[in-house]
Symmetry: C2
Subunit: 301 residues, 2 copies
């Protein structure tokens, strides 16, 4: 049996220049630095990665840039879905052929109030359209954004229809009880927290790790928890790491989270192209940026 997907994954941000052109070079460097800083892998092109603000061609190019720069395929969990089946098949097939560890698939998010039957058909048509056995699908539950939740009934049905293919879920709803319930219900199913503060309680409940945005900045602290959480003698270190993450995550919420994360990455990486975001998001103002950078200094970077 394949090993479950587990570890600390970064929901990597995506850099663009002042004209909104993708900075493939900066992105690839960032991915490799994240691995050096402690991430087991990179979940590129998620919500923090502004996936839906990029074209199919740009999304393929971003994945290839990371691979070309030496990030291993089995360290990558790209988001490869869109609202339509044909392009989701195209992106997913491309990623699987490049040897990625798994693909993170949002439900189609235009129509609201859709049935589990409709979502099942979407995922089934994608999996059957890709038609490659080594495809591993990580479902993506982020109902506060999509407004389209992924129910336990849907997970059960997909696992039954596609055993060995539908292998996990990224849960960004922020409710640890939902994650614990999935751990209890679905053996060998990777449950990954989308919220940094919930990784530790999730690990303690038998979960598998995280895919978070704060790891763009504090992968070291998340990895510290990962390595030591089962060691009773390291409880203080683990708590200190968790406190550090919570402080950094708190700062990412000072303004709209995503531009704030990119503003913090700009300072950490020393490149102002990281300040740019694609619409409908808007960069922080100069005043907001100064505040965030000042707070980073106080947090010790």
């Amino acid at each position: 049996m394949t090993q479950p997907i587990r570890g600390v994954f970064c929901a990597a941000a995506t850099p663009v220049d002042a004209d909104n052109k993708v900075r493939l070079d900066l992105f690839a460097e960032h991915c490799r630095a994240l691995i050096d800083e402690g991430c087991h892998g990179i979940a590129l092109l998620g919500t923090t990665g502004e996936a839906n603000s990029y074209s199919v061609a740009e999304r393929k190019a971003l994945l290839e840039a990371a691979l070309d720069f030496g990030v291993a395929g089995d360290q990558l969990l790209p988001g490869t879905s869109s609202c339509n089946v044909p392009e989701t098949v195209e992106l997913t097939k491309h990623a699987v052929e490049r040897g990625v560890r798994g693909c993170v698939l949002l439900p189609p998010f235009y129509y609201k109030g859709v049935s589990d039957e409709g979502l099942f058909r979407f995922y089934a048509q994608v999996i059957e359209g890709v038609a490659v056995d080594r495809l591993k699908v990580v479902l993506y539950h982020i109902p506060q954004v999509t407004q389209v939740p992924i129910s336990h009934e849907l997970i059960a049905r997909l696992r039954e229809a596609f055993p060995g293919t539908v292998v996990g879920i990224k849960d960004s709803a922020g409710d640890v009880e939902n994650m614990k319930a999935m751990v209890a219900k679905f053996p060998d199913f990777s449950v990954l927290s989308g919220a940094d503060p919930l990784m530790l309680p999730l690990l303690q409940a038998g979960g598998h790790g995280c895919i978070t945005s704060t790891s763009n900045l504090r992968a070291d602290a998340l990895r510290e928890i990962w390595e030591n959480w089962q060691d009773a003698g390291a409880a203080d270190r683990v708590q200190a790491a968790q406190d550090r993450i919570n402080d950094w995550r708190g700062l990412t919420n000072a303004y709209i989270q995503l531009p704030t994360v990119k503003t913090m990455v700009a300072r950490a990486r020393g490149n102002d192209d990281w300040l740019n975001v694609r619409p409908p998001l808007v960069p922080l103002s100069a005043e907001e940026r100064a505040h965030v950078w000042g707070q980073m200094e106080q947090l010790g970077q």
Copy 2:
């Protein structure tokens, strides 16, 4: 000055076969029949047209199929947006180059709680990216689906920045007061109702027509209202047409609206491929279909 966009437009449904492959031939025939039945034009690839369930390539092919089959460019208002700027530019440019009357543009709908500034930047980058003077943009307000409303402040700002380009709005929120307010506030701005029962009150308030799904079935009755609503002597005929539309629209809401509309088109056009929908939508069951078809017979078709 350019004439405002006005008239009865059909939010045309999009046929696929049992394998979910687009039926370009059926689509083109449907578009031409809709013109014969009374539509001034076709607003293809909107919500009823399942636009977001099709790839960029499929969307271009659908527009070209209608043109190749003899529907005139100035009768077409395709939906040409997606959540990302580059593909929205690509689709919009393609449509403008094919001579369409205008392009209907949803706001990007993945992120929620976005600012008017962010939405302004999205539309501005699309318009500047297309960079063709004869582009006419119809904004698309359907907050119950997108969860991203289009405010009057945004409309005012876009009209000021792009006069002669941002020329109208499709309002599918179902609130006639919002439409009347836009008619009053924005001179020479085409306000088109997304709901059939609201076309008459909107016309009476100085509005410009409709883009609706019931016109896939009852374009004749909508055109009857359009032609006669200002003629006091025709009040009975207009009322009868409105009643007829309301009955048909009521039936489209017997189940989930979109598969119900397609089920009704299947019977009207005599082709069962119209029964198919792409996920996340699901076709009606055989029982539901029998009920809808029985009701259509009672309504007189």
